[in-house]
Amino acid sequence: MNERSDFDELLRSRLEGMSEPAPDVWEGIVKGLDRHRRAVIFRRFSVGVAAAAAGLAIAWLVFRGPQTGEQLQVPVQTAQHVDVTTPGPVTDETPEIAPIAEQVAAFTRNQSVARAEKVDKPSTPATAVPVSDQTGEPVEPKTEPQPSVATEPAANPAETPSVEPNKPVEPQPQLTEDDLPDGFWDGDDTDTRKTHTSQLTIFSNLTAVASENDLIYKASPSHASSQTGKGQATSSVEPLSGSPKFFVPLSAGVQVAVPLTERLLVASGLRYTYLVSQYDMLVNKEKFEGAYNQLHYLGIPLELSYRFVQTYGFGLYASVGGAAEKCVAQRYVYGSNTLREKVGGLQWSAQAGLGAEYWFAQRAGIYFDPSLVYYFDNSQPLSIRTQQPLQARFEVGLRFKL
C-alpha cells in the first residue's frame, strides 16, 4: 500500500533540490574519494616494499656473520710497508724495524681509530706477526736479511730516518675507548663493558588488527553484547549487538633492561595504552548509536630477551614475557554527554617476538620489535583485546645505555 499521498510527492519534489549542490558536485567529491583510495593503496604497497627491504637487510646481516680477519690485517700490513721502504742500512736484525712500525701503526690508529684498536696486537714489536701480502695469513718470521733491503744500501746515509737502530723500544700507549671522542662508537658490541650495561628504552607501538581500512577494525556482530565482564557488572552501559568498530590501540612507555649475562636481559617498566571502540549501546536504558568507549590502561611489562646476533652495531634478539595492566580510566562518549566508570581487575597478557636493533651512537640506538601478544580473558570491558585476543604488535623505540 502506498501511504504517500500526492501532496507528499509534490512537497518532496519542491524541497528536494533546494540549496543542494548540483549533481556534478557530488560526482566530483566521489572522484576525489577514489583518488584518496588509490593513494591509500599506493601507501600500503610502499610500506610493504619497505618492510621487505628491511627484512632482506636484516637477513643479510644475520647470514654475513662477523668478519674479524680484516681487522687483523690493518696494522701488520703497515709494518711490512715500512720494512720494504726504509732506505737505511738494515742488517739481518729485523727487530730494529719494529719501533718504526709501531710508530706508524700508532699514527694510523690516531688517524682512523675505529678498527685498529680491536686488533690482537702482539706484546712484542711487529716482528712477531709478519703477514702475507696476498693472503693476509700469518707466515713464519724470516730470520734472513731481506734481499731487497740488504743489497741496496742507502746512497746517502745522512738522509736515513732519525731512528737509531739499537734504541730501546718504548712501549706505545694503548688506545682505549676513553681516548675516543665523545659519541664515537667503534661499531663493536662484543665488549663486555658495553653489553653488560643496563638499557633504558622509550617506545611506542601500534597493534595490528584485521582492518577494513586504515585505522578501524569492524567486528562481526555476534560478539558485542557478551563482552562486558566483572568490571562492568554494575555498569549503566550495555553494548548492543551490532557492528562494533575498534580503533588501532596506541601504546607508549619506558622500560629498563638489566643484563643477566652477556646476551640475556630482563626488562621491566611502565606502559600506557589507549583503546577506543565505537558501538551502539544502551545508557540508562536509552539507545545511542555509534557511541564511543575510551579505555586508558597502565601496565607493567616483564620481558626476557636473548640477543643471538650482535655485530657492527646491529643486534637481533628474541623475547618472551608478559604484562599486567590496570584500566585506570574508562569513558563513554555519546552525543554530547560523557560518562566515566571504574573498571576492576587486571588485564594479563603474554607475548613473544623477534626484534632488531641498531646502535647509531655509542650509547643510543633504535629498535623495531614485532611480536605476538595474547590477551587473557580477565573480564575487561569490550575492546579490541576482548574481541581479538591474539594480536600482532609492532613496537619501535629508542634505547639508551645507562
Binding site: E3, R4, S5, D6, F7, D8, L10, L11, R12, R14, L15, E16, M18, S19, E20, W26, I29, V30, L33, D34, H36, N213, D214, L215, I216, K287, E289, G335, S336, N337
Partner: protein
C-alpha cells in the same frame, strides 16, 4: 545539507548540527565504500545528527501526546504549492511541532518507512502513521493560510 538540518531543527539549531555533521563526515569518510550515492550517505549522517540533537533536547518526550492533537486542516488545492516558494514551504515545515516535524521529515521528505521511523524515534509504527497524517493536515492548513495572506 543545511536545508536537511533546518527541516528537522529550525534555522538556529541547524547551524550547530551542520557543524557536527560535517565533523562526523570527515571522521568517517574512510568508511564510505562507494555503495549507494555519496549524497545519500551524507544525508543519512546529517539526519542522524539532527535526531541526536532532538533527543538531547528531549523534544520527543511528549511526541506520543501529539496523538491527542485533533486532526485539523482540510483539503488543499495542490496548485497552491506552485504559488509558494520552496523556502516558504520549508519555513512552514519548520514551524510544525518538533515531534510531528521529525516524523513528517523522516517519512515524507527522507523516504523512511513507518517501521524505520518508529525504530529511529522510539515510537510505535502506528504512532508514526498517525503523526504523519496529523502533520500533513497541519502543514496543508499552514500553507493555505500563507497563500491567503499573500493574495
Amino acid at each position: 545539507m543545511y536545508p536537511v538540518c533546518v527541516r528537522y531543527l529550525g534555522r538556529e539549531d541547524a547551524k550547530d548540527v551542520l557543524q557536527e555533521g560535517f565533523l562526523t563526515v570527515f571522521e568517517k569518510i574512510g568508511t564510505y565504500k562507494g555503495e549507494g550515492s555519496f549524497e545519500g550517505w551524507m544525508r543519512k549522517i546529517f539526519v542522524n545528527a539532527s535526531l541526536m540533537q532532538i533527543r538531547r533536547s528531549d523534544a520527543l518526550r511528549h511526541a506520543e501526546d501529539i496523538d491527542e492533537t485533533p486532526e485539523s486542516g482540510g483539503s488543499l488545492d495542490y496548485g497552491v504549492l506552485e504559488q509558494i516558494s520552496s523556502r516558504e514551504i520549508m519555513d512552514q515545515v519548520a514551524t510544525l511541532p518538533q515531534g510531528l516535524r521529525s516524523v513528517f521529515n523522516l517519512f515524507v521528505l527522507d523516504g523512511y518507512s513507518h517501521a524505520e521511523v518508529g525504530a529511529m524515534l522510539g515510537i510505535t509504527e502506528q504512532s508514526s502513521r498517525s503523526q504523519v497524517s496529523r502533520a500533513r493536515s497541519l502543514l496543508q492548513e499552514k500553507i493555505k493560510k500563507l497563500y491567503e495572506r499573500k493574495k
